[in-house]
């Protein structure tokens, strides 16, 4: 089923016309209503009337997280605070958080895009959605909630944690869709396994996950553990929250809701557009957001975008799963390494669980990489030679992937931190900066 066929299957000419009109509107409004944009654009000598084609967007300066923080708390609002009906913030791990304000219309847009995505995953009013994303300042919980309500599904707003309770409700309420972060999903799978509950004892037909980077191998593991297809949800608080792009049943990339969010892919060094289909940093512009227009926001997420009609019938541009971040990229011995590459290598070895931690040290002048991997019954043998063989195989797989030698350490199960909520700590960098 398609939630809004007119929009989701629109021809690219019509879409571009719509986007240009909306882009002109949002730039005009931002320039006139938001002092930050007025100042920036005046300094750069670029004005709303310079936007004559979609490509003219390149004339506009980028907006970064630093710019958002500098406008803390309400400096980027384009409307009076009384028009704002809800506020979310991104985590403020490095200083002040970034604030995201929504008018009533913005909440409607958010509900609409998530509704489209849930429909893509085969969910409708008959379904029961167990939403393990946290409800609060984090956008994950509410985004899914609004979308679920919009399509008329039954939403269980349980938030993260209380895993035993989650499992109880999953069984008693006959949950048909569960939303989780990949690491929390694995945690639930472990508990199910420990309790002897099989996927066939549950009623799941779809899993939606996001807000953490993951690999295709991790998806396969989750699908295998739950015997349920898992779909990707992408979004970020600064732009709206989850629902910027979501995956259809083809599971070959995420449809970006480009009538609301205009995507560009840039080279993060030259800051120029890369050719279509090439990998680079995703830059997003909100085309319709009323309360807080965000123009050319640098997401630091690495992906590529592809056009053309999808097997599902939609024409929305598709982006690949996020393969890394330009800022979580590790520089090790001068080589760029993404944690996702190490995960991919580990999971290529049969029986390895995706519980790992990368520890970087610099004992003298050279970087050392240690990768701790939890042993599992599948890779444990009563034979030191075979265990050493597994360890070496893992080190070799990582070497093949990133081109660097690493020390792999097998550790006992459940010794790598995986908090009941939130995101797994994948990298510990002990090198002096």
């Amino acid at each position: 089923m398609i939630w809004d066929k007119d929009i989701e299957c629109m021809s690219s000419e019509d879409m571009q016309e719509l986007q240009l009109k909306r882009l002109q509107d949002v730039v005009y409004k931002a320039f006139n209503e938001v002092p930050y944009y007025h100042k920036r654009y005046s300094e750069e000598n670029v004005y709303p009337e310079d936007i004559q084609t979609l490509d003219d967007i390149e004339k506009l300066p980028f907006t970064t997280k630093t710019d958002l923080r500098a406008s803390y708390p309400f400096g980027l609002f384009a409307v009076d605070q009384k028009e704002i009906v809800e506020i979310h913030t991104s985590s403020g791990t490095t200083g002040k958080p970034t604030v995201s304000g929504y008018t009533r219309e913005d909440i409607d847009i958010w509900s609409e895009v998530v509704a489209r995505g849930l429909t893509m995953m085969g969910i409708d009013e008959n379904d029961i959605i167990q939403n393990t994303h946290g409800y609060g300042l984090f956008t994950g919980g509410f985004g899914v909630h609004y979308g679920g309500q919009k399509i008329g599904a039954t939403v269980i707003p349980i938030s993260t944690g209380q895993t035993l309770r989650q499992i109880e409700l999953m069984k008693d309420f006959k949950t048909t869709m569960i939303i989780f972060t990949p690491s929390y999903g694995l945690h639930i799978a472990e508990e199910l396994d420990a309790m002897g509950i099989k996927p066939s004892d549950l009623n799941l037909k779809a899993i939606g996950f996001g807000s953490e980077s993951w690999t295709e191998e991790m998806r396969k593991q989750i699908e295998d553990k739950f015997k349920t297809p898992a779909y990707n949800i992408y979004g970020l608080t600064e732009v709206i929250g989850p629902g910027v792009a979501m995956e259809c049943e083809q599971q070959e990339g995420l449809h970006i809701y480009e009538d609301h969010f205009y995507p560009e892919i840039i080279d993060s060094k030259t800051l120029k557009h890369v050719p279509e289909g090439k990998t680079g940093e995703l830059v997003l512009t909100t085309l319709t957001r009323v309360g807080m227009p965000i123009i050319r926001f640098r997401t630091h997420d690495v992906t590529s975008i592809h056009r053309g009609r999808c097997g599902c019938g939609r024409t929305f541009v598709k982006m690949d799963r996020i393969t890394g971040r330009t800022d979580d990229m590790l520089k090790i011995k001068g080589v760029s390494v993404f944690p996702s590459q190490i995960e991919k290598a580990l999971l290529s070895v049969e029986g390895v669980e995706p519980h790992y931690q990368i520890i970087l040290t610099r004992p003298d002048i050279l970087d050392q990489i240690e990768v701790k991997v939890e042993a599992s019954p599948e890779i444990f043998f009563d034979n030191i030679k075979e265990l050493v063989g597994i360890r070496d195989k893992l080190a070799q797989a990582i070497h093949d992937e990133i081109g660097l030698r690493v020390n792999v350490t097998l550790v006992e199960p459940k010794t790598i931190d995986r908090v009941d909520s939130g995101k797994a700590v994948r990298v510990i960098d002990k090198r002096e900066k």
């Binding site: 042993a375 444990f380 034979n383 265990l387 199960p413």
Partner: protein, 146 residues
């Protein structure tokens, strides 16, 4: 699978302070006695091998505490506790080209014999030749209750 094979517990342990004690504490709480024990290790991890009188119960309990445990088959052979006692057994294996993966031995207090636990590459062939050569194979019931 021969009934003469003894169930041994093989436990994955990280080579770090307190891990061994932690494991044995759990077994102590079950009031289960350890008959024999050996460790194979590298600088980072190792395998703790145990003979206990109720291997299934110990395995279940350790798994509840997130240990990785496997039950492995080994052979127990009685040897005389005197110079050359073990060599007799090794010569039999050597003569018949049976590869030895590992062994460990302990001395039995009551009879003053020694008992050697053998893990062979091919357990069935090993058992066959040891029987043929009249080695004194001890059945599992006896080992568990020594």
């Amino acid at each position: 699978m021969s009934e003469l094979f003894v169930d041994q517990l093989s436990i994955f342990l990280e080579n770090k302070e307190g891990r061994m004690l932690n494991t044995l504490d759990i077994i102590e709480k079950l009031s289960i006695n350890i008959r024999a024990l050996s460790i194979a290790d590298t600088s980072e991890f190792g395998i703790l091998r145990l003979i206990v009188d109720n291997p299934v119960k110990v395995k279940e309990e350790l798994e509840k505490h997130d240990f990785i445990v496997k039950i492995t088959k080994v052979l127990a052979v009685s040897i005389s506790d005197e110079p050359g006692g073990l060599n007799k057994i090794l010569r039999i294996l050597d003569k018949h080209d049976i590869n030895l993966e590992y062994l460990y031995a302990f001395v039995e207090q009551t009879t003053y014999d020694a008992i050697v636990l053998l893990k062979l590459e091919n357990m069935d062939d090993g058992l066959k030749v040891l029987k043929e050569e009249d080695a004194d194979i001890i059945p599992p019931e006896e080992i568990y209750t020594i």
